[in-house]
């Protein structure tokens, strides 16, 4: 197999792996792009939105303090240490696909001092798994809004 073809195969495998790893929730709607975009924007209303660009189909929130998804204590004696703070930001991406529009929702979540014990690296935000509940909540709200407009998720 020639080298470029191998590289293409590797890239394809990597991209599939990346999508699976990243925790993105994706939905397709048989609806116009404008309707889906408006519904997505309305869904994110009330949150601290840092970016919204209709051309790119991108809505991003700022980092926001969120309730902790898991109890994480310090050391084997389970002390509270530096707290159990978590923060998250939501990214909603709307894509135009002929008569269909796709929406992908991704939560990026981080925890302060999530690493076990104390290291020099403890004093920073560490990425942790996104909350499925938070992602589902956004998707559910979006579905409800689009359903009201007659757009059915597929």
């Amino acid at each position: 197999m020639p080298l470029p073809r191998i590289a293409m195969v590797v890239l394809a495998l990597l991209s599939v792996g990346c999508a699976a790893l990243s925790g993105i929730r994706e939905q397709y709607y048989v609806c116009s792009y404008d309707s889906v975009w408006d519904a997505a924007l309305e869904t994110m209303k009330g949150q601290s939105v840092s970016t919204y660009d209709k051309e790119k189909g991108l809505i991003e929130t700022n980092w926001q303090d969120v309730p902790s998804t898991s109890e994480r204590t310090f050391g084997i004696f389970g002390r509270e240490g530096f707290g159990n703070n978590e923060r998250a930001r939501m990214t909603v991406s709307v894509k135009r696909m002929n008569d269909v529009a796709s929406v992908s929702v991704l939560e990026t979540r981080q925890r302060w001092h999530s690493r076990g014990g104390v290291t020099q690296q403890a004093l920073k935000w560490w990425p942790i798994d996104p909350s499925e509940e938070a992602t589902d909540a956004v998707v559910d709200r979006l579905n409800a809004k689009l359903k009201a407009k007659g757009c059915v998720p597929s």
């Binding site: 792996g17 990346c18 790893l21 990243s22 925790g23 991003e60 310090f74 050391g75 084997i76 004696f77 002390r79 240490g81 530096f82 990214t91 991406s93 991704l106 990026t108 690493r115 076990g116 014990g117 104390v118 290291t119 020099q120 690296q121 403890a122 004093l123 920073k124 935000w125 990425p127 942790i128 798994d129 996104p130």
Partner: protein, 496 residues
């Protein structure tokens, strides 16, 4: 209630003598007047009682931090009215207790310790004569002190006591890092103090409870000599260039390496690698200060395209000679891939110690003229010169699992949060790439391990190390010899 009644009676008794008494006042007005007066007297009384209690009490905060009786350490909180300790504070011997952390503690004391038992086929462990083959070693007892001084000022430190059972002077006590952070914002933060150098990932995350095997990777012992720290200052921060990606960086200017002994003998060699060139290994007379006017620069950039994937490049560059320009550079790449229960981690590093094979100006070591090739320092090859180029890497695979029957047997011991990890690691280093003949620094090791973590912070480990290429520093003659070896290593480590 009793106090209020007495005061009420006193106020009523005093009313006839006050100028506010008037014949045309209604009973309601009089009652209101009495109530107000009682309330006022009550407040005055409470204030008075409070002052008396503070005078009589043994632990009340004072107007001056060094005056008054001794505080109950950690129990009291400094009141807003009490001035902070300053050079203007006065007091006697109790002034030593007037520290801000006594009245307003901020620090957290934690740490980790480890204990290991190892049994080798050959007598490679320290000991008399031919060395010993097995033994216990409490290698690291490491207290940490961390503190959030304010929202933006942080303090962190690690005090390491290695082989603490040894007598005074033989054990190693050092401050591995101690720094003050000033958080500006997430992309830019300032750090100054004794810093862990960002060369490779293992140097930054070297704690025994984090390591899934007992021994550190060979490349992290001999090429990037963990724990490598120096005094200095710099910046670190995080950017988010994409939807799921993250970019961390650290950049520091520090004191620099210490590449030669007082007589000019190179500290970097094929037995200990770059280990002895660390700032903390400098001669006592250097006081840990700079041995030349050059500073070292080090930095690491780590890119994580998504959760569970990180690749990083890092580098270090600084002059190691007190009398000439012989820079030591270390370049490393590291990677971490996590997917479900699987992890692949590793690190590769290259070091170049320019001019290390030749005598430096002003040396008195074995009569070598400056610039001439140094020989006779390798324990196995008398013609080999001290190392200039060193290289090494490790590749480690981890698999986390928990058998269901164990969870069923004892959910408390093997329930959520506890895990077993199967580990395999391949290590390889060459600590003198220019010595193509007999070379004490060519080491190869394959480790098979299994560990159990009842919680993430504590781990019990067992491993077998197969060492097809190893070096024994303790043979009969004491000159060292190349060997094949194997070892069983059992250990425990925990944060506390």
């Amino acid at each position: 209630m009793k106090t209020r009644s007495i005061l009420g009676a006193l106020v009523i008794a005093a009313l006839p003598f006050t100028s506010v008494w008037a014949e045309n006042m209604t009973p309601e007005d009089i009652k209101k007047l009495v109530d107000e007066a009682v309330t006022k007297r009550l407040q005055e009384h409470e204030r008075h009682e409070g002052v008396t209690e503070r005078r009589e009490g043994s632990a009340a905060p004072q107007s001056e931090p060094g005056i008054g009786s001794l505080p109950e350490v950690g129990r009291e909180r400094r009141t807003e009215s009490q001035p902070a300790l300053s050079f203007g504070s006065s007091g006697s011997g109790r002034l030593v207790y007037a520290k801000p952390f006594v009245s307003a503690p901020k620090a957290i004391v934690g740490g980790y310790m480890d204990i290991q038992y190892r049994s080798h086929r050959k007598g490679v462990l320290e000991g008399y004569g031919n060395g010993t083959t097995n033994g216990f070693d409490q290698q690291r007892f490491v207290p940490f002190i961390y503190a959030d001084i304010t929202e933006h000022v942080k303090f962190a430190s690690e005090l390491e006591i290695e082989h603490g059972i040894r007598g005074a002077g033989a054990n190693e006590i050092s401050l591995e890092f101690a720094h003050i952070d000033y958080l500006v914002n997430e992309p830019v933060n300032i750090r100054a103090g004794i810093l862990l150098l960002p060369i490779g990932k293992f140097n930054l995350l070297h704690d025994s409870p984090l390591n899934d095997l007992t021994d550190r990777p060979l490349v992290s012992q001999f090429v990037i000599p963990s724990t490598m720290s120096e005094t200095g200052a710099g910046f670190y921060g995080t950017f988010y260039p994409g939807r799921t990606s993250k970019l961390d960086y650290e950049l520091y200017v520090t004191t620099g390496p210490c590449g030669h002994r007082k007589d000019g003998q190179p500290r970097i060699n094929e037995v200990t690698g770059t280990k002895d060139s660390r700032q903390r290994k400098c001669d006592e007379s250097d006081d840990g200060l700079d041995i030349n006017n050059g500073k070292a620069i080090s930095g690491r950039v780590a890119f994580s395209p998504m959760l569970g994937v990180e690749v990083a490049g890092s580098s270090y560059y600084g002059n190691q000679s007190p009398t000439s320009y012989n820079p030591l550079s270390i370049t490393a790449i590291d990677w971490t891939l996590q997917k479900g229960p699987f992890e692949i981690i590793g690190e590769a590093a290259w070091a170049y110690s320019r001019g290390n094979s030749r005598a430096i100006p002003g040396n008195t070591f074995n009569g070598f003229a400056p610039g001439t090739l140094i020989t006779g320092v390798s324990p196995v090859n008398p013609f080999a010169a001290p190392s200039q180029r060193l290289h090494g890497f490790y590749l480690q695979g981890n698999y986390h699992f928990m058998p269901a029957f164990l969870t069923k047997l004892s959910p408390k011991r093997f329930g959520e949060g506890s895990t077993f990890t199967a580990v395999i690691r391949y290590d390889r280093v060459n600590l003198n790439m220019d010595n193509r003949a007999e070379n004490a620094g060519q080491l190869e090791q394959i480790s098979f391990g299994l560990n159990y973590r009842p919680v993430e912070d504590a781990v019990f480990k067992i491993s077998y190390q197969y060492l097809p290429k190893s070096f024994n520093p303790n043979p009969g003659g004491g000159t060292g010899e190349r060997i094949h070896d194997g070892a069983l290593v059992i250990s425990a480590a925990t944060y506390f």
